[in-house]
């Protein structure tokens, strides 16, 4: 019924880390929610269902809690319905998650022989003698990754997460996506067991694509929560990179390397949970103080809400993988595992890996740009709107939530060895190989297990940085320099909110560089002073980017359904008052087909009779054109 092995406990721990600060935050947020009982009910059952999925010991329980998780999160998105967009987003989300559920269902039905109460070990034996294991794998991937939000099933994230109340979006992005990762671990190891090389490559490619696509669309966003949601896609991609490498290595029987990569994936899972929750909380507090999600309306908030600002800064540094933060460490590990594959000789694999190295590197650069944009535009400079002007620091509980979560981030940075031990024990259970001794000979430095691998020592880096800063500061103090405070120099004009850069402007160069991907539709109108081309009193410029996949896959399928349904509808209405004729033909065709397929079959009679059938349909059913 229920299962408490290391993997489950690990993810329970993850949920715990994520939920405890979120509780504080959520209770701070509560006064602004109208349907409190509704909210709390669904909030807690959401958490409960996530726990349930993680500890589920058989298919029935797993599927039940999985669907419950979707249900409650969907209801939570609908907590505060402000406008149509919320409803649309919720619907879309629920449809997508149901779509994924469908494939999970198929997966389980195949591996359980229809008896849904059997445990994973027995499933493994059934799965191993199933004829098409790759089919199983595809079902699992489709089912889980549509929840995890990996390309191409990622489209719902930027809609669903922004519409949910902020604590919930923190939970969804921070933890729910990781539940899918848990599923990936559970299915690959406990049910599928062994896998060919290609599966790993598939996961690797999906990861690389997701990371790139996620960060690119994040850059083009102005809605702060949608931007963060896009970053979740990116980070899921990074996790999948690690996971894919792990699968590849283990299918090549390089156990230590594969364990290293899996540990990297787990570590990044934890890191992403921590800083993405923190970011969503920060974004939520900002949104909650300014009542707008549009970044162009923010600015200068660091003065009015310092705590939010600095926790947000910490999270942004961590998510942009800058040393010595935890985000940096996990990405470092993933890089090491990618580079460490130099001993392999398989050309497709090599190409895939070098592509993902490139993707990961590019992702890092773009992520930095993106978070400079978010932090700078949101918190620095002058406020760009009255909403931002009247913003205050959020209440105590929310502050506590954010601080606790930032403590989690810091702990992941400082107590890496401890976490590593945990991951290692989990991997030891799954892969039967323990590499803790190799990666942490001493608690100071983190060694890569790749041949001639590098070493990084977060603590030394941190200590060094702090020491140097202190030294410099001491110099500064010792010089006791006079200070004068005056306006920023703006070439003689006076500095106003209007003179600052906007988020759109900031992303401008990059958007222009990737315009082949975005093909953005730009709106630019200005009131020119009569005659002049260049002189104008007022101008406004706005850019909207519609993601590629949405344009192609999703809109396309909707069109298709509409078309089919239109024809079916016509057919159905055509039937009016022709019932007798229809039944008549039905009867004929049944007699006919039984005679043909059951009694005796030869092509000549078949053709002849089908012609007769068609005639009868024409004459009796369709009749003459009027």
């Amino acid at each position: 019924m229920f299962l408490f092995d290391n993997l489950s406990i690990l993810f329970l721990f993850l949920i715990m880390l994520g939920v405890v600060p979120n509780l504080f935050y959520s209770f701070g947020y509560l006064p602004h929610i109208r349907r409190k009982a509704y909210y709390l009910l669904h909030y807690f059952s959401f958490i409960g269902s996530m726990v349930g999925v993680v500890v589920a010991g058989n298919a029935l329980v797993f599927l039940f809690f999985w669907e419950l998780m979707s249900l409650t999160s969907w209801q939570l998105i609908l907590t505060e319905v402000k406008d149509k967009s919320t409803i649309k987003a919720a619907r879309f989300y629920f449809f997508m998650t149901h779509f994924g559920f469908m494939f999970l269902l198929l997966f389980f039905l195949i591996v359980t022989n229809g008896n849904l109460e059997i445990d994973f070990a027995m499933m493994k034996s059934i799965a191993s003698d199933f004829a098409y294991p790759t089919l199983l794998f595809f079902f699992a991937v489709l089912g889980l990754l549509s929840k995890a939000g990996a390309v191409p099933m990622h489209v719902w994230l930027p809609y669903a997460h922004p519409e949910a109340p902020s604590p919930v979006s923190a939970l969804m992005s921070g933890i729910m996506l990781k539940i899918a990762i848990y599923g990936l671990f559970r299915f690959t190891f406990d049910i599928l067991g062994t896998w060919p090389l290609e599966w790993g490559i598939l996961i690797l490619i999906i990861g690389a694509l997701s990371s790139l696509i996620g960060v690119l669309y994040a850059l083009s966003e102005h809605d702060i929560k949608a931007l963060l949601a896009n970053h979740s896609i990116e980070n899921i991609g990074i996790i999948l990179l690690g996971f894919g490498m792990g699968m590849i290595f283990s299918s090549l029987h390089l156990q230590t390397l594969s364990a290293f990569s899996f540990i990297a994936a787990l570590f990044h899972t934890f890191n992403h949970m921590s800083f993405k929750s923190l970011l969503f909380m920060g974004g939520g507090s900002v949104l909650h103080e300014t009542n707008t999600k549009n970044m162009e309306k923010y600015g200068g908030l660091i003065k009015s809400m310092p705590i939010t600002a600095f926790t947000f800064l910490l999270a942004s540094i961590s998510i942009s993988a800058l040393p010595p933060t935890n985000g940096f460490l996990s990405e470092w590990m993933i890089f090491q595992s990618l580079i460490g594959s130099s001993s392999i000789d398989n050309i497709s694999l090599k190409l895939a890996i070098s592509f993902s190295v490139f993707a990961l590197a590019l992702t890092g650069g773009l992520a930095i740009a993106c978070f400079v944009k978010v932090f700078g535009i949101t918190f620095l400079g002058l406020h760009r709107s009255t909403n931002a002007k009247h913003a205050k620091e959020v209440n105590f509980m929310m502050k506590t939530g954010m601080i606790l979560m930032s403590l989690v981030v810091v702990s992941l940075m400082l107590f890496t060895p401890f976490y590593m031990k945990f991951f290692d024990s989990t991997l030891n259970e799954l892969l039967h190989v323990s590499i803790y001794k190799q990666i942490f000979p001493n608690i100071w430095s983190l060694h890569s297990v790749t041949p001639y691998g590098g070493i990084v020592s977060p603590l030394i880096l941190l200590v060094g940085l702090i020491a140097i800063i202190l030294a410099l500061y001491a110099v500064f103090k010792s010089l006791n320099i006079k200070e004068k405070v005056y306006h920023t120099w703006a070439c003689g004009y006076n500095t106003t909110a209007k003179t600052q850069y906007s988020a759109t402007g900031f992303a401008g160069p990059i958007r222009r560089f990737f315009t082949w991907l975005y093909n953005p539709n730009e709106h630019f109108e200005k009131e020119i002073i009569s005659g002049h081309k260049t002189k104008f009193v007022d101008a406004s410029f706005s850019v909207h980017v519609e993601p590629l996949f949405e344009r192609t896959i999703y809109k396309g399928s909707v069109k298709l359904v509409n078309k089919i349904s239109y024809y079916v509808y016509r057919l159905a209405h055509f039937e009016q008052s022709r019932y007798a004729a229809m039944i008549f033909n039905m009867l004929l065709s049944i007699l006919f087909s039984y005679r043909i397929f059951v009694h005796e079959f030869d092509w000549a009679t078949f053709l002849l009779e089908s012609v007769v059938m068609l005639i009868s349909v024409k004459v009796l059913l369709i009749g003459e054109k009027r």
Binding site: G300, P323, G365, L380, L472, H487, W489, T499, Y501, P509
Partner: protein, 306 residues
């Protein structure tokens, strides 16, 4: 160990000298009256003694960021490949860490630009974000491929290995890496053709625009950060792409190293004199070349093994 400390101090003190040396050569080539080579030290001392004007619009970031711009770079100095043979050096720090530290300082520089609500700051950091977003992957790829040629992901160890047995087998990818890294050296340190450190014209400014509102001590921090950054790139280039001279006795080795640095400086200044500043949206072409070469070198080494 002592020599290790000394080399770091040497690098720190050398860095202003090199920057002003470049400037000097440029002015000489442009038939101007060259500045004295110690101009850099003078500027710093002047800035130290000056009073600071803090902008009203800025926040506490302005007081924090300058330190965080400088300190990662100072930290990198400790991890650089050895200057001369037979002494202590940090062998294990790899390309990703170093790039990360550089990005850390860039991150805070960009934030600093956005902090003072001036349009220049935003402009500068936007452009910087654009450039560094393209620079970082190229740098990671190039350094990784070189360090893999050196049979060790730790840069220091890799440079030593390169010294001991030069990878003639992988000459092609080595060359690609060298080219791309040199382009990065120019781009990241805001030299012509990517950026023009002299002018303060908003068409050309990238680096200068971000620090327009700083003065005194903070400005000094940023400026020194700039010169130290150049130093870092130069020395990495020197020890990875000119891998010789570690077998010489220490002091000779150090002299050779310094000569390498100055040689790179001369190269840069010649390039600066002979090219014009690129338009911002032409910059990607240059960086694109860098990325392509870095990627090529990785592929050629990694897939083809050439």
């Amino acid at each position: 160990m002592i020599v290790y400390g000394l080399t770091i101090i040497l690098l720190i003190f050398l860095s202003p000298l090199v920057t002003s040396f470049i400037k000097m050569i440029k002015m000489y080539l442009l038939y101007k009256k060259p500045i004295p080579i110690f101009q850099g030290y003078r500027d710093f001392s002047k800035l130290l003694s000056k009073e600071m004007i803090i902008s009203k619009e800025t926040s506490s970031i302005t007081r924090i960021a300058p330190y965080l711009v400088l300190s990662p770079l100072l930290l990198i100095l400790f991890f650089l490949p050895p200057i001369a043979g037979g002494e202590y050096y940090v062998s294990f720090i790899d390309a990703f860490t170093i790039t990360g530290l550089i990005s850390l300082s860039t991150f805070f520089l960009m934030i600093l630009g956005l902090d003072s609500a001036s349009s220049f700051g935003g402009l500068g950091s936007s452009r910087e974000a654009f450039i560094s977003a393209l620079v970082e992957p190229a740098m990671i790829l190039a350094l990784f491929s070189v360090s893999m040629m050196g049979n060790n992901l730790g840069l220091g160890q890799a440079s030593v290995n390169l010294n001991n047995d030069f990878p003639y087998a992988h000459m092609a990818s080595y060359l690609f890496a060298a080219i791309s890294f040199f382009i990065l050296l120019i781009a990241e340190n805001g030299r012509i053709p990517v950026d023009n450190p002299e002018t303060h014209l908003e068409l050309t400014m990238v680096h200068e625009a971000m620090i327009l509102d700083l003065s005194g001590f903070y400005l000094m921090l940023i400026e020194s950060a700039g010169s130290i950054k150049f130093m870092i790139f130069a020395s990495i280039f020197a020890s990875l792409f000119m891998p010789f001279g570690l077998h010489l006795p220490i002091f000779l080795g150090i002299i050779v190293f310094v000569l390498k640095i100055f040689f790179i400086a001369i190269l840069v200044s010649l390039l600066e004199v002979n090219t014009a500043k690129l338009r911002l949206f032409k910059v990607p072409n240059l960086l694109g070349i860098a990325i392509v070469f870095a990627f090529l070198s990785l592929i050629t080494f990694y897939v083809l093994g050439a």
